[in-house]
Amino acid sequence: MTDSIRTRVERLRADFDHSFSVPLRTLDDETVELLAIGVGGRSYALRLSQTSGLHPDRPVTPLPTAVRALRGLAGFAGVAVPVYDLATLLGHPIGDEPRWLVLAGGAPPLALAFHRLDHHVRVRSADVVDGSAAAAVPQGCLRGMVRLPDGNRPIVDVAATRALAHRMAGHEHSEVTT
């Protein structure tokens, strides 16, 4: 090993080691990470930053309840988490059995169930059209659209969806984390 290679190896090693001590790099403002999903036969997107976990095929224990969107409870790390049907929250009739659970950011724990996960995408901020500016009153749980190669998708605002679930459950809505 020549000196120059040794120096380079050492520098790479130091960089590698150093990379563990710096906080996970947040993406710069130029891009937005989204989950492209299918709900009630339609295509939507979710902001990844508003979620805290994505789980396929997790058993949901049905719960007798008067809240139609409440599918039941699922276990996450020793906690029973309420699971709401995203299709119902978005106003679609209950159709396909949801396969995916996404944990909504914020507290208390809440999972949203949906049927189809299309892909995970990173798009330029310019491709996201902020709908809230256009409409003075935000429309339901949707906030804006994203242009994707397979078409435009409305973006489901997880915080607004959480707020709706809180209202349905008669739960005091004290916190919305965006």
Binding site: T61, T65, G78, A80, P82, A169
Partner: protein
């Protein structure tokens, strides 16, 4: 080595346990004089003395010695100790407790920093050694179940070799067909046997691990009995100061709950118990004059009532002096006319029941503390008082974690837990008995007709459930409002569980009390016996249809090519209150199905053109119709046809030959979509 740095490490633990035993032993002796408690106290004090000497804790050893000296003359004395000797024992007990509590960890060698103070309420946060032993036993048991698995692994290796030999035989083509066939059959047989052994072993390990998990969860909870000694001592000291005699009894030592509850509850009830002795119990002469036992009684009870822990302090004293309290209230310009209002004032501070402010229980401080604790724990306080006969102060607090034994029951494909302490009996039901019970809503048990309802109806979640034969057993539940019968498909044994309240975002019916997690970490619902009982008793008071949720069912579409069947089904359904449309063929059925919203399809199988299977399949494939459950009714009774029906997506399958109106209606009640 840590032992060198902290020579008291083990002594501290042992001494705390011994002090706890001494404290409860002294109070025990006070109430139940005799050679037996004396002997027990001597043993414990002697152990403490020995241990203290070993670690050079002279003060503790000397106090333990003095303690022994008082007791030794009373070894065989049934009469018990004189009052001043008892007082001296209690004093030594306190001194030893204080010294043991002061055994802090050794400070840093140079500078002695003040140690954080011990929490004010000495509640046993540590798991008792008995609980740990049980957990260790369970872990040992689970580990021992690994042996069959290890043996199984060797068996698999042998089988692997046999399979290779067989492959060789087949490749060479030299061995006779009969020989290879015999080898293959032997291999198949061995594989089958090994498979069964594996299943057994894995089942057992799973059960053992579930047990281990439950016990480990239970360690997070503390038995209520751990606060009894402190309360007993509070009663004793108050009685001593007031020159009264009191008998303190406590019940419910085994009820377990989070230690964060027991600390504040213990603090509040020390005041309540003192109040009961000072304000409640009359002086001895007064008691005798009133025809009461000279010795007053204070009882502290802990019990679990559904999702609540209930703490109750009852005395047999004079009760609250409502008239005096009212006068006192009026003198202060407070308005309180009724007894309940007066007691409310006591609860909300400012009104004491005692004529004089004593050192032991002054003013209404005790009640203030209790009220604060109730607010802090989201609990509720109730006071009951009978003049001349005594008073009860009760605090109920909701439990976040609750350890209990559950009976696992299955209904409509779901397994739920029912707290075992509310189960009076389980009754096996024949098909006929189940049908009668379902039709009448009653089940005869111990000579009375108990209200009956299948659990599956109460667990209705709006989704279709797998077809089941209907209730095969009834669980007789008693939640204090009378016995009710709950029909279940099957019983799956008992298990230890830790129940948590339902999350705030998951409101449910009163039938569901809490939720626990099963061995796989999936939520399992825990029924609330009181909720079940009131759901059943409420239904029982009105007509049976009243049990239906407020939303009316959507109409039912009957598809059958036989006029007789169509008319029969229509009359059954209409008399049960459903709206019915008819179709004479699968084609007509599909047309009608798309023309309006239905709550359920009831279809024959054998029809010309589109048959029942196809009708179900096509509706399942149509996103608009897939949500409408379908029931197949047919004279075909084979398992094959049933399977085909299930595969097509039918929610239930009813055989015409066994046609039972109640069974059909039960399925419909369970499945029908409501508006």
């Amino acid at each position: 080595m840590p032992e060198n740095r902290d020579p008291l490490r083990y002594f501290r633990v042992e001494a705390r346990e011994l002090v706890e035993q001494i404290s409860s032993g002294v109070l025990d002796l006070d109430q139940r004089p005799g050679p037996e408690p004396v002997a027990k106290l001597l043993r414990v004090a002697h152990t403490l003395k020995g241990a203290a000497r070993v670690v050079r804790q002279k003060e503790i050893a000397d106090r333990a010695h003095e303690f022994e000296e008082i007791l030794i003359p009373h070894r065989d004395d049934p009469a018990g100790l004189a009052a001043d000797q008892m007082r001296e024992l209690l004093r030594l007990n306190d001194e030893i407790s204080a010294q043991v509590a002061a055994l802090t960890r050794p400070a840093a060698p140079v500078e002695r920093k003040p140690e954080p103070e011990e929490p004010a309420e000495p509640v046993a946060h540590r798991a008792s050694s008995g609980d740990l032993d049980e957990l260790l036993d369970s872990i040992g048991e689970a580990s021992s179940r690994m042996a069959p698995l290890r043996a199984g692994c060797r068996t698999v290796e042998n089988l692997h070799r046999s399979a290779e030999v067989l492959a060789d035989q087949l490749r060479g083509g030299r061995a006779a067909t009969a020989v290879t066939r015999a080898s293959a059959q032997r291999l198949a047989g061995d594989l089958g046997a090994a498979g069964r052994r594996f299943i057994d072993a894995v089942d057992q390990i799973e059960r053992e691990l579930a047990e281990v998990r439950a016990k480990a969860e239970g360690l997070r909870l503390v038995p209520a009995g751990s606060i009894f000694t402190v309360l007993h001592r509070a009663a004793r000291d108050a009685a001593d100061a007031e020159d009264k005699r009191v008998r303190f009894t406590a019940h419910g030592a085994d009820v377990r709950m989070g230690s964060h509850l027991l600390g504040p509850v213990s603090a509040a009830f020390q005041h309540v118990v003192r109040n009961a002795v000072v304000h409640g119990l009359e002086p001895q002469a007064e008691r005798i004059a009133a025809g009461k036992a000279p010795e007053g009684s204070v009882t502290f009870e802990v019990e679990r009532d559904g999702r609540f822990a209930v703490f109750r302090c009852t005395d047999d004293g004079r009760g609250f002096d409502v008239a005096a309290l009212r006068a006192k209230a009026q003198a202060r310009g407070l308005l309180a006319a009724g007894e309940a209002e007066v007691l409310d004032l006591v609860l909300h501070g400012g009104l004491s029941t005692s004529e004089t402010v004593t050192e032991v229980a002054g003013r209404a401080i005790g009640m203030d503390v209790l009220r604060d604790v109730a607010a802090q724990l989201h609990g509720e306080v109730k006071i009951r008082s009978t003049p001349g006969a005594g008073a009860t102060v009760q605090l109920s607090v909701p439990l976040a974690l609750l350890s209990m034994t559950g009976l696992l029951v299955e209904a409509g494909g779901t397994v739920v837990s029912l707290p075992l302490d509310s189960v009076r009996a389980c009754v096996r039901l024949s098909v006929a008995e189940a049908a009668t019970a379902a039709a009448t809503g009653k089940l005869v048990f111990e000579g009375t007709a108990a209200p009956f309802r299948p659990l599956v109806e109460m667990l209705y979640t709006g989704r279709t459930v797998p077809d089941a034969a209907g209730p095969g057993a009834a669980v007789m539940v008693d939640a204090g409002q009378g016995v009710v019968a709950v029909g279940v498909d099957g019983l799956c044994g008992t298990h230890a569980l830790v129940a948590r309240p339902l999350p705030g975002l998951a409101p449910s019916t009163p039938v569901i009390g809490s939720v626990s997690l099963d061995a796989d970490g999936n939520p399992r619902l825990v029924l609330d016996p009181a909720g079940l009982a009131s759901a059943l008793l409420r239904d029982d008071s009105g007509p049976r249809a009243a049990s239906a949720p407020a939303a009316p069912p959507l109409p039912i579409l009957v598809v059958d090519d036989s006029l007789t069947t169509r008319m029969l089904e229509r009359s059954i359904l209409e008399s049960a209150g459903y709206q019915v449309d008819l179709a004479a063929s699968g084609e007509e059925g599909l047309d009608r199905a798309r023309s309006r919203r239905y709550g359920l399809f009831l279809t024959d199988i054998d029809m010309p053109g589109i048959d029942g299977f196809s009708f179900v399949e096509r509706t399942r494939a149509d996103p608009e119709l897939a949500g409408v459950p379908a029931i197949l009714v047919s004279s075909r009774a084979s398992a094959e046809d049933r399977d085909r029906g299930t595969a097509a997506g039918a929610s239930a399958y009813i055989v015409k030959g066994e046609f039972d109106q109640e069974e059909l209606l039960a399925h419909i009640r369970r499945l029908v979509v409501r508006a």
